[in-house]
């Protein structure tokens, strides 16, 4: 960043699917010892007219109806929307006006993520917002909260002026990362770096351990990070290596983006409890149908029951009581219970089955007509997704020797034990040592804290995890083959950014030139791969296995007509850069040097290839 005011704080922001958190620490001056990382208590509306400070800001946005008047915050008397706890509870009363899981929409490959589409399925009079706008509003709220709690009006202490590390799922593709930074820049963040969430969790562990972590991690150690949050599941594998006598950490694999989390589990338990309630009511001759409000209350109660029954305690049953919506409590309250056996069979065996290392998630064929909703995971078996990550297509699967858990769901002892048992059985079958669990991180706040710790570490000599991009990226070029009716023209995938490309580096692809029509938007198909590790920039693939390359949203370029004749085809080479922020930048460099001249800055002419602009066709 250019000559701006030096930041005072290192800030870590966990912009989660269900919760957002912010941690910070003062950047130490020369020779000063770093201070511990603190978590910001975020003032937020928790009920109508009531503001409370909490360390978690639920990632919900409530767009109020005009009859409600302003949703007053201490710093804004005229606000027409709310984020946080009140927004979440309004999701029960007035669901059509609440945006939830915005982050999952942000990485949805087949929608226009800058279009005002949320809340999904809301009536026309709701002023809809885009996934990017929603993320922006969460960040803006943090900025305002920060201003009230920390900066207190001092402009050089404003959040945007600090050194900010914003976390994203390891499985976020280039476009989702780009859109996240777009929201952050809109919020005025000047000094921004993206960090993968599982890495942030490991940084939190490293920083909590101080120097003693070296006792737990030796060269050759394979660390598996399992992050199961409210809405998503994210895995990463980080390997400890010894280079020139120094220990280094390198992220070697990340899992697919799995829309599966604690909310799914609570829904299942709520469903079981509902069936019991209905059966009991029918047996008593009073048919029962739950309303929406009761169902949600049931889901909350189910979460509590899950945590109680899956923790170490001795309890075998957990009582559930759900009050009706009216003011009558006695007689209107429904009561049932969940047993340890029910929770164990539905949650532990349903979501974390003991499977062989060779197990793979089931893929159901999509039917022709799919509602344009979120692409939820088709297989709820978290351990099967995990086996798929560790097991390569050929050769021996990776054997983790250390496991680090993260995410609220992992608070349950029984679930941590099950994942450990599963990984241990894989290790035993492969005659490898059993993995050891790394303890001691706060499962809800580790990502934010770890991000702040990383913000401190990257300025000093702290341990850094290397890894680069988690995917290789390819531009699809349609070959010049004779047209055959019904057969699409063959596509060549040209690798523009190899897997593991590091921040601050770039690659030029000059061997294959792409033709761009002047004055028109030209679109290219775009692919990503998490498995092709040996391709380099410039590798071109004539054919590939469908599971190797995933098609992403297309990329587009418009070459302005200035200095050229509209309709002309100009050959361009491609430069791929991994920016310091951590996003992928693709630029086209026209090679018709004869007509050079209109480039930005007067030097070499370059035009940005836009990621993720429109829906996939």
């Amino acid at each position: 960043m250019s000559a701006k005011h030096a930041p005072t704080y290192a800030v870590g922001i966990d912009l989660g699917t269900t919760h957002t958190a912010l941690a910070y620490a003062k950047l130490p001056a020369e020779g000063e010892k770093p201070l511990p990382v603190e978590v910001l208590k975020i003032p937020q509306l928790v009920a109508a007219g009531t503001v409370e400070s909490r360390s978690l800001l639920p990632s919900f946005l409530y767009l109020a109806h005009e009859s409600e008047g302003a949703l007053v915050l201490p710093w804004d008397k005229k606000r027409t929307y709310a984020v946080g706890e009140h927004a979440r509870s309004r999701g029960v009363d007035a669901p059509a006006r609440v945006v939830m899981s915005a982050k999952s929409w942000l990485c949805h490959p087949s929608i226009d993520r800058r279009a005002n589409i949320l809340p999904h399925g809301a009536p026309d009079d709701v002023g809809k917002v885009s996934p990017v706008e929603t993320s922006f509003r969460f960040l803006q709220h943090l900025e305002e909260a920060w201003d009230q709690e920390v900066a207190k009006g001092k402009t050089d202490l404003a959040l945007g002026k600090q050194s900010i590390v914003l976390t994203v799922p390891a499985s976020f593709d280039a476009a989702a990362r780009e859109l996240t930074t777009e929201a952050a820049f809109a919020a005025g963040f000047e000094d921004l770096t993206l960090l993968e969430e599982p890495q942030a969790a490991l940084y939190a562990w490293l920083s909590a351990k101080g120097d003693s972590w070296r006792k737990d991690i030796k060269p050759g150690e394979v660390i598996l990070v399992v992050d199961v949050g409210g809405g998503t599941t994210d895995f990463s594998v980080i390997v400890a290596k010894e280079t020139n006598g120094e220990l280094s950490l390198e992220r070697v694999a990340v899992g697919d983006h799995i829309l599966l989390g604690g909310d799914n589990m609570d829904l299942l338990l709520a469903h079981i409890a509902e069936q019991k309630l209905v059966a009991a009511a029918e047996a008593a001759g009073k048919p029962l149908e739950l309303d929406r409000w009761q169902r949600t209350a049931l889901q909350h109660a189910a979460r509590v029951a899950k945590e109680v029954l899956l923790s170490d305690g001795k309890k075998d049953t957990s009582q559930i009581a759900i009050a009706g919506k009216g003011s009558k409590m006695v007689g209107g309250t429904l009561r049932t219970e969940l047993t340890r056996a029910e929770v164990a069979s539905s949650i532990v065996d349903g979501f974390f089955p003991m499977v062989e290392a060779s197990a793979r998630p089931a893929v159901r064929p999509r039917t022709g007509l799919v509602e344009m909703g979120l692409p939820y995971a088709q297989d709820p078996g978290v351990t099967r997704h995990l086996a798929a990550l560790l097991g390569p297509k050929t050769g021996e699967p990776m054997q983790p020797t250390r496991i680090l858990f993260n995410g609220g769901v992992m608070k349950s002892d029984a679930l941590r034990e099950r994942i450990t048992a599963c990984a241990t059985s894989w290790a035993t079958a492969a005659k490898a040592p059993a993995p050891k669990v790394l303890d001691g991180v706060d499962l809800d706040l580790a990502v934010a804290k770890g991000a702040a710790a990383y913000g401190l570490a990257r300025r000093g000599k702290g341990m850094r995890i290397r890894g680069g991009t988690a995917r290789a990226y390819y531009v699809g070029i349609e070959g010049a083959a004779p047209a055959i009716p019904g057969v699409p023209p063959p596509v060549t995938a040209l690798c523009v950014a190899p897997l593991g490309m590091e921040e601050g580096t770039h690659a030029d692809i000059t061997a294959h030139l792409l033709g761009v029509v002047v004055g028109e938007q030209v679109r290219f198909r775009f692919f990503g791969s998490q498995s092709r590790k040996t391709d380099v920039a410039g590798t071109s693939l004539e054919r590939w296995k469908p599971e190797d390359l995933t098609e992403l949203s297309p990329i587009a370029i418009t070459l302005p007509a200035e200095g050229r004749t509209p309709g002309d085809v100009v050959p361009v080479s491609i430069r791929a850069t991994i920016t310091e922020v951590g996003t992928l930048l693709l630029e086209a460099i026209p090679t018709d040097k004869a007509k050079k001249g209109k480039g930005p800055g007067g030097e070499e002419e370059r035009w940005k290839l836009e990621l993720s602009v429109r829906e996939r066709e």
């Binding site: 003032p43 509306l45 928790v46 009920a47 109508a48 007219g49 009531t50 503001v51 409370e52 007053v72 915050l73 201490p74 008397k77 009363d93 509590v304 009582q319 009581a321 759900i322 009050a323 919506k325 003011s327 009558k328 409590m329 006695v330 007689g331 209107g332 309250t333 429904l334 009561r335």
Partner: protein, 208 residues
């Protein structure tokens, strides 16, 4: 003034109990309310006068004077302004929101079956406990188990320990601990935003 219903009084008493315990200024106001409002106009001036006269007589005169002054001051304040109940209302609306306490207390449970009351009590207990734990940091005044023998030395804090039963003689006092007591160490209430009517404990709801 409208009489307050019994249940609300019960609750108010509970609230005031805590507030008196840890809020010195509030305690002073309450004490002024009791003595001040009804009795003060008749008794206070007399007291003041008699004390002024008896300047040379009693040993406790200095103390008494100070006390009288404080009372007079507080009385003036209280009369000038209605007491601010907004934090009490906030706590009440918090307990209603989280645990439906007002709904429960306002309901007639005399004829209801114990099982139904039990089911409702679970909702109230779960929610109110969560709210209480989030907003009030409670500690036991005595850390000993209830039922154990305990000896209090001279100079023990009579505000936090109440002697019951055969109360006589001088310290040390030995007896068995009947109730460990509670002290609100810290209370954090939500901030009400401008224009919010704290008296609305729960909004009426109209489903469209």
């Amino acid at each position: 003034m409208e009489p307050v219903p019994f249940v609300a009084r019960l609750f108010l008493a509970w609230l005031v109990y805590f507030k008196v315990l840890f809020d010195g200024t509030f305690a002073a106001k309450v004490s002024a309310l009791g003595k001040g409002r009804e009795l003060a106009p008749i008794e206070e001036p007399k007291k003041l006068a008699s004390r002024a006269k008896a300047k040379e007589e009693e040993e406790e005169k200095v103390e008494a004077k100070v006390e009288a002054k404080v009372e007079a001051k507080v009385e003036a304040k209280v009369e000038a302004k209605e007491p601010d109940f907004s934090s009490a209302l906030q706590l009440l609306s918090l307990l209603q929101r989280e645990g439906r306490l007002v709904d429960f207390l306002e309901e007639d449970i005399a004829g209801a079956a114990d099982a139904d009351i039990g089911a409702a009590a679970r909702v109230v207990h779960d929610g109110c406990r969560k709210a209480l734990r989030e907003h009030v940091e409670l500690v036991a005044i005595r850390e000993e188990e209830e039922g154990v023998k305990l000896t209090l030395q001279e100079g023990f804090d009579a505000k936090s320990v109440k002697l019951t039963g055969n109360v006589q003689g001088k310290a040390p006092f030995t007896g068995s601990l009947r109730h460990k007591g509670w002290r609100a160490k810290k209370i954090t209430l939500p901030t009400a935003v401008a224009g919010h009517d704290a008296a609305i404990l729960a909004q009426a709801e109209l489903e469209l």
